[in-house]
């Protein structure tokens, strides 16, 4: 039971075309280095899941033509505004989008984490979202005395969870700190691929101070080192988001040409800055 330590490209090679891939949001240890490696490897037809929303990494993948469909509660670059390649793909009709709402994504992953076929969730009744989601069902709460319609959300099991960790040990345990949605994603997915800022000696699971922020190697298929692997996004208290870079991306990616130039400069070209 050993978790291999891969190169970033070897890790990217583990993502099959057509895979159903869960990605954390921009503020939660999103593996952007791995996303760039995926674009370089030319992955195709991904079905992305935003947990619970999508941002910069998803917009990059959409723009690079790697995404066939997307399930998410929102796509945004935050302060930098709308996600330009998502917006363009929606206009072009080239993206199959399934709208959700944040807690429904969490609930679907928690159902998968527990191995139950569904979980209930309040709200949504009377929205225009509910009729769009033929995979959800409304039942009458069997514990209520009066009629009480409630939505059941089926479990969602991603083929892969892709996450970036602050550190990993040689056993394959990875530390994500308080961003426990990453643990939920890893638990729910069939397999988890991890990039980590650095490899630490010892066993993270045996350190009672660090263990609460650890995802056990039980869930991890492979790890690659990626220094500043969330850049231009931020990583906990280790580094902040590169707002100027994201702003520049948001402007450039408004046009196809601008996006291609960005890709050439920051994704396809060798980058001395990051360990890619």
């Amino acid at each position: 039971m050993t978790v291999p330590l891969d190169s970033l490209d070897a890790l990217a090679a583990r993502v099959s075309d057509g895979a159903f891939v869960a990605l954390p949001p921009d503020n939660s240890l999103c593996p952007v280095s791995l996303v760039r490696a995926l674009i370089r490897r030319g992955v195709r037809d991904l079905h992305l899941l935003g947990v619970p929303i999508s941002g910069f990494a998803t917009d990059l993948l959409i723009g690079a033509g790697c995404v066939r469909s997307l399930t998410t509660s929102a796509v945004t670059l935050g302060e930098a505004g709308l996600a330009p390649r998502f917006t363009a793909a929606m206009k072009a009709g080239s993206l199959r989008l399934t709208d959700a709402t944040c807690p429904a994504v969490h609930t679907a992953l928690q159902a998968a984490e527990k191995g139950v076929p569904f979980m209930p969730l309040r709200g949504m009744i009377g929205t225009d979202l509910l009729p769009q989601r033929s995979d959800w069902k409304v039942i009458d709460n069997p514990f209520a005395d009066a009629p009480d319609p409630i939505v059941l959300v089926p479990a969602l099991v991603p083929d892969l969870a892709l996450i970036h960790a602050a550190m990993a040990d040689r056993h394959g345990n990875v530390w994500v700190g308080r961003r426990r949605e990453l643990a939920t994603i890893a638990h729910a997915a069939r397999a988890t691929l991890v990039t980590a800022e650095r490899i630490v000696e010892g066993n993270l699971m045996e350190d009672e101070r660090l263990a609460p922020g650890v995802i056990s190697s039980l869930y991890v298929s492979a790890v690659a080192v990626a220094e500043r692997g969330a850049w231009p996004l931020g990583l906990l208290d280790l580094y902040g988001a590169d707002a100027a870079h994201i702003d520049a991306y948001a402007k450039a990616a408004r046009t196809d040409e601008g996006f291609r130039a960005y890709l050439a400069a920051h994704v396809l070209a060798p980058m001395p800055k990051a360990a890619e």
């Binding site: 509660s73 945004t76 917006t87 959700a100 709402t101 807690p103 979202l129 009480d148």
Partner: protein, 248 residues
């Protein structure tokens, strides 16, 4: 010194938080894109209201340790008393649309998405709708897509309804029983007519419509001082714009 538009809106929302209401606000949650609501909660606290503010997207010292789902779990339990929602469209029944306009919705312009609105509107007992742009384009008779309904029929689980809608021109309060807004106050420079003209939906207009009460001098001092200090990390651009460059 002139009161900035943002300060006026902050004060107006702080007034709504403290307004008499069957459900008191002890815990408010605010997202990354909402500096004015966050400042309003802090101002209400400065004025003596015992309210806890959870800033959802705080990178360091985030209020949650159960991951992103904790906010929604808290709301599901009824442990969030106040939340803020906006929309590319808001209609006269307080329905909101976060998906976009056109048929199908989003076809003419696609917005980010529903976020948590389709859940929070049901589980949080007090919602304040906030949208600075006040135009017939935003305030429409009927939204093209219901991300969250303003009211629900009996038998549908729901802890409350929108309390009010705050815009760049005025404050509307919302009567859930009648599913209808009423003009509550006019921001300086606005008239009943200017608001009526800029609003795409019908609403009630009482005989007396006061001017929106702005911030007091003490409010302004708190906003520029301790409140700025507490929120500057989360909203650096907003703070610099509204309260000026910081004395180093």
């Amino acid at each position: 010194m002139t009161v900035a538009r943002e300060e006026l809106l902050i004060a107006a929302i702080a007034d709504l938080i403290a307004a008499p209401h069957p459900h008191p606000v002890r815990h408010a949650a605010v997202g990354a894109a909402s500096p004015i609501p966050a400042h309003a909660v802090m101002l209400a606290r400065h004025r003596g209201h015992d309210v806890r503010l959870s800033l959802l997207q705080q990178r360091v010292g985030n209020p949650f340790t159960e991951g992103a789902r904790e906010l929604f779990d808290l709301a599901g339990q009824g442990r969030i008393d106040l939340f803020f929602l906006g929309g590319v469209q808001i209609d006269g029944q307080a329905n909101i649309n976060l998906i976009g306009t056109g048929t199908p919705a989003g076809s003419s312009a696609r917005l980010p998405g529903n976020f948590g609105s389709a859940f929070m509107a049901f589980t949080v007992p007090r919602v304040i709708l906030f949208r600075e742009e006040h135009s017939p384009r935003v305030l429409v008779p009927t939204v093209d897509y219901v991300s969250a309904p303003g009211v629900s029929p009996p038998g549908v689980f729901r802890r409350g309804s929108p309390q009010a809608l705050v815009t760049g021109r005025c404050v509307f309060t919302f009567d859930a029983a009648r599913a209808r807004f009423a003009l509550a106050s006019l921001h300086p420079g606005e008239t009943r007519e200017s608001v009526r003209e800029a609003t795409g939906f019908d609403y009630d207009e009482p005989d007396a419509v006061p001017e929106t009460r702005g911030p007091s001098e003490s409010d302004r001092a708190a906003l520029a001082g301790p409140i700025r200090a507490a929120l500057e990390d989360t909203y650096p651009q907003f703070c610099a714009r509204v309260f000026g460059a910081r004395a180093a």
